[in-house]
């Protein structure tokens, strides 16, 4: 009886993970832009994979395999944001256009210039104080 309840909880988690993966792919297919597609993919994929891993952990119930599955979950949860961040940075550097009529506040270049100027001032100040 206890095992039956555990199976139903596992099915609930499995259905949730499948639903989130489906939503991510629908967003990948329907959204108009690279950045919005990445916004749909990067979150739904990680959450769906984590929920399916929780379901498999509940079904397996063996401590060594649960540890391996937890390790795979940690790997996916760290790798997916890294990949998304790098794809977004590459797309920005290559000048990939956004969708028509999107409202953009571009602060990236101005922030970089400000940071470089402050660093130069700090270096100059440090040289003055040391000499």
């Amino acid at each position: 009886m206890n095992k039956m309840v555990l199976q139903y909880i596992a099915f609930f988690f499995l259905f949730g993970g499948f639903f989130f993966l489906l939503v991510g792919v629908v967003g990948l297919l329907r959204l108009p832009d690279l950045y919005t597609r990445m916004h749909a993919m990067g979150k739904c994929d990680t959450l769906g994979a984590g929920l399916i891993l929780i379901a498999l952990m509940l079904l397996i119930g063996d401590i060594t395999n649960i540890t391996k599955l937890f390790l795979i979950g940690v790997m996916i949860a760290t790798i997916n944001p890294i990949i998304t961040h790098l794809i977004a940075k590459t797309a920005y550097n290559r000048g990939t256009p956004m969708a028509e009529g999107s409202y953009v506040i571009n602060d990236y270049v101005a922030a970089q210039r400000r940071r470089r100027r402050s660093r130069l001032q700090e270096v100059a100040k440090g040289d003055d104080s040391s000499q």
Partner: protein
């Protein structure tokens, strides 16, 4: 009942991957294709793990682990090639 539900989930994941292949085939830029391939990678890892439970052959979990690491290195190499023009 449990194997039926798991096989249904596997068939659903395969259909999702086939839908993502549409975006990987006709994406306007290279990075769209890379995003779609990332989705397909996660689906393949989930399919491997579900089959590991259905067959009760748990060494497939190590296969999934190596698959995750390999695709991560491959995606990093492709992105470095796109950004800098060379890999090494």
């Amino acid at each position: 009942m449990i194997t039926t539900v798991l096989y249904t989930a596997v068939v659903g994941l395969v259909i999702i991957s086939l839908v993502a292949i549409i975006r990987a085939y006709g994406g306007p830029s290279v990075l769209d294709r890379m995003v779609a391939m990332n989705v397909i990678t996660t689906n393949v890892v989930m399919i491997i793990l579900i089959f590991a439970y259905i067959d009760q052959s748990y060494y497939y979990i190590d296969v999934a682990f190596v698959f995750v690491i390999g695709t991560f290195i491959a995606t990093l190499c492709i992105l470095k090639l796109l950004r800098e023009g060379h890999i090494i």
